[in-house]
């Protein structure tokens, strides 16, 4: 069992992402679990970014505040991060360039640039030198896996580039062995891998889940941290026959997606909080016209432009109350990349079956992070497109889009272009046919029709995960991307002998009716942990369950929740 945290830090564009990816992929293939969190500034070059790779024998879904190993690619990186290196951790740096001071960690000076020029024949192979140095310091025997990763990574650039990088890795590796052998305490062998294992980001998992769920139309407008979803789909649109378009703004995006939903396909968009704010009138249009649409909000800290490249769970309230008037919606929040595939299949099913807008709420720490995913953990729900009008047997021009079929029934859909039938969808209050109505009694029934979908949805709904001790003293509650951190916090408490558990939600609204799986009265602390300043989920859950948390642990500095942060604030 091991649990290592390796951080690579440097100016934007210097290759932290490539080093961290290579390491994570290498260890994933070697049978371990990896998780990468990217701590990014909102700029393209310069500044300071840090990629934090966690490597663990057991699954890992969250980041850490302190590092076992830190690679710095410039002076600023060293200055900003050196205090985060653990007492007996390593700091890898290019001694020809910088001279980090201080004590408490093992300074590992590697002439990165020199070795890159010599072995890799190009300064750009600094990244590979650093990767080699890290592998050596970890005492790892996973070079074969690493070379495989590098081969694929640089395949498109030709054999020479591949070879140079492999040579650079070896150079870094050997330099450390030659100069710091005595410091290497670890000894990591590749594990026997049984099941298929993948490394992918939250964004990739969402895009993949959407395609696997049959999305046929995507319109969106770029916005961090959602853009990667859009680019994932764009890259595969031709292959999977998906209509894709970059809209002029988010308002166009949501209205295009709703149009395509009315048009009869599974349709979606993705954005972040500021872009979603612009979609809100569209959300109410989907509610009123009863048009299926899936919207991913990849949250980042607000208000306004806020922290474009950082993380927060601060848009839940807005998502829940987006749109004037009351109507049903579903809000889902995947816990990790593996679950995102399932969540997307659910999202499209909810959208089409109940003819509603469905919001998938993620965040930067989910979207940009890479997760090791076990095939065994990936599921999906088979498509359920809801009921369609049977035009075959029907009299010409008799279809009624908003037919009231009785309590809890959803009107049947029909595609435009159905022979001898027409479908009217209307954003005004409407008759059963879909024409503008001014009738009060009718409005009451239509309003209930749109709202009472909640009742139907709530009848069959995923329950939260309960993880940990059966008789806990501490229970952490949370939602979405925080799952990994909460689990880890509970594990750490259990290790210390404090019985702890996690109650964690991915179905955010409507909330499932549950009986608490623990005895509230015997808890020392019932804690809601969220990545926002007020505890937005806590408010909603307290109201729903008619209970109160004893404490809220809230992080709102733009950084992700970690077990350390949670325990420090308990």
């Amino acid at each position: 069992m091991f649990d290592l945290t390796i951080a690579i830090s440097g100016p934007a564009g210097a290759g932290m992402q490539s080093i961290s990816f290579t390491l994570a992929k290498t260890f994933t293939r070697a049978g371990y679990s990896a998780y990468i969190y990217h701590d990014l500034m909102s700029r393209i070059r310069g500044g300071n970014n840090t990629s934090i790779v966690r490597l663990k024998t057991a699954p890992v879904n969250s980041s850490k505040e302190t590092f076992d190993l830190l690679v710095v690619l410039d002076k600023e990186a060293a200055e900003r991060n050196r205090t985060k290196v653990k007492q007996n951790g390593f700091l890898v740096f290019d001694g020809d360039k910088i001279a980090p001071t201080g004590s408490g960690e093992n300074l590992i000076s590697v002439p990165l640039e020199k070795l890159a020029l010599e072995a890799g024949k190009d300064k750009i192979t600094i990244n590979s030198v650093a990767t080699g140095a890290v592998l050596a310091l970890l005492g790892s025997k996973v070079q074969t896996e690493c070379f495989g990763v590098v081969k694929e990574l640089f395949a498109s650039k030709g054999e020479e580039v591949v070879n140079n990088n492999i040579a650079a890795i070896k150079a870094g590796f050997n330099y450390v062995l030659a100069n710091y052998r005595e410091k290497i305490k670890l000894d990591i062998e590749p594990l026997r891998v049984v099941r298929k294992r993948f490394l992918l980001t939250g964004s990739e998992a969402l895009g993949l889940g959407a395609i696997a769920a049959g999305v046929k139309f995507y319109a969106g407008y770029p916005m961090s941290p959602s853009t990667a979803i859009m680019e994932y789909i764009a890259a595969r649109a031709k292959e999977y026959n998906i209509a894709f378009e970059q809209a002029e703004d988010e308002i166009a995006a949501i209205n295009m997606a709703i149009g395509a939903g009315y048009g009869g396909v599974r349709s979606m968009t993705a954005t972040s909080g500021g872009g979603f704010a612009l979609m809100i009138e569209g959300v109410s249009l989907a509610g009123m016209t009863e048009t299926p649409v899936v919207i991913v909000i990849a949250q980042r800290p607000g208000p306004a432009t806020g922290f474009p490249t950082r993380t927060e769970q601060g848009d839940l309230n807005m998502a829940l109350h987006a749109g004037h008037g009351d109507f049903a919606r579903v809000i889902l929040a995947p816990r990790n990349a593996a679950e995102a595939v399932y969540i997307m299949s659910k999202a499209f099913n909810y959208a089409e079956k109940y003819q509603i807008p469905v919001i998938v709420l993620t965040d930067q720490c989910f979207n940009d992070s890479s997760y090791t995913v076990n095939l065994a953990d990936v599921k999906s729900e088979p498509p359920d497109r809801g009921e369609f009008f049977n035009a075959a047997g029907a009299e010409a021009y008799t279809y009624k889009r908003y037919e009231l079929l009785g309590d809890g029934c959803i009107s049947k859909r029909m595609l435009p272009g159905t022979e001898n039938q027409v479908v009217y969808a209307d954003s005004d209050e409407h008759t059963m046919e879909g024409h503008i109505s001014e009738d009060g009694k009718f409005r009451e029934r239509m309003t209930r029709k749109r709202l009472d979908k909640y009742i139907e949805i709530a009848k069959k709904i995923d329950k939260p995960i309960y993880y940990g001790e059966a008789d806990p003293k501490v229970v952490f509650t949370g939602w979405g991307s925080s799952y990994g951190a909460l689990r880890e916090a509970a594990d750490l408490l259990n290790e210390k002998g404090i019985p702890a558990a996690v109650l964690h939600f991915n179905m955010i609204f409507p909330l499932p009716e549950i009986q608490l799986p623990f005895d509230l009265a015997s808890l020392d602390a019932f804690v809601c942990v969220e990545n926002n300043v007020t505890g937005q989920f806590a408010d909603i859950f307290e109201k729903h369950q008619r209970i109160s948390f004893t404490k809220r642990i809230l992080r709102y500095d733009g950084r992700p929740l970690t077990a350390e942060f949670i325990l420090d604030n308990l």
Binding site: R197, G214, E248, Y262, S267, G417, N420, Y424, I436
Partner: protein, 286 residues
Amino acid sequence: MVTKEDYISSDPSSWCPGCGNFSILQALKQALVELDLAPWQVVMVSGIGQAAKIPHYLRVNCFNGLHGRALPAAFGIKTVNHKLKVIAAGGDGDAYAEGGNHFIHAMRRNPDLTYLVHDNQIYGLTKGQASPTTDLGMKTGTTPSGSVDIPESPLAVAVAMNCSFVARGFAGDIPHLAGLIKQGINHKGFALIDILQPCVTFNKINTYQWYKDRVYKLDGEPGYDPSDRVKAFEKALEWGAKIPIGVIYSKERPVFEDSIFKPGDASLSRQPLNPPDFVKLLEQYL
């Protein structure tokens, strides 16, 4: 054969007696019948306003969406149903104010849509405020001292955006308008038809008579070449003693759907869902 009766709607109109919208409705029905399109083959998409109520008043597939958002919705509908005729409609406020950005960008994409803008140079449904096409100096509820913002020439903007079909119609000449609508529907690409539409209630300046005194048909103009973009621009700017109606600019180019579909492809909405297995999609992340 499709007849006008096929297009009769169950929904009674709520326009003012004498409104130019009635003529547009009539011209539209005439065009659809002459093109022998059945109601179920046509989708009308509109925003909000008096004009935007039009889809309710004929029997067609209809998506009556939000104020200003007809074009994006129409784009979504058309893209997944490229075999249907999709016609968007709305007022000048809907199209050029709230919907101004979509107007611009729809022309860049050139989807095969027809856009009927009922241009009464006023906000009708909200009871008489200035629109982007309101003439300078006109007094309205929001311009009590007369409008100071220069009116937009939607046709000039369309020519500047290289819109593939740019025309102006007049509600006072139904046969001519019906002809334009037919041309617009037949045109492969985005067809803008800006229609001079008297609002008898709120626009007491640009009346039937005012337009009648000024409009002339381009069709009769000797040597007018609607494929000359610079000439079309000059023509589009004509607004005063003489106002041209007819096709101002027309130049076919690939439509958005061409970038996705090959001839003979089924509509996306008609294709079976059968999505790829996630296991296959995951392979690349092994």
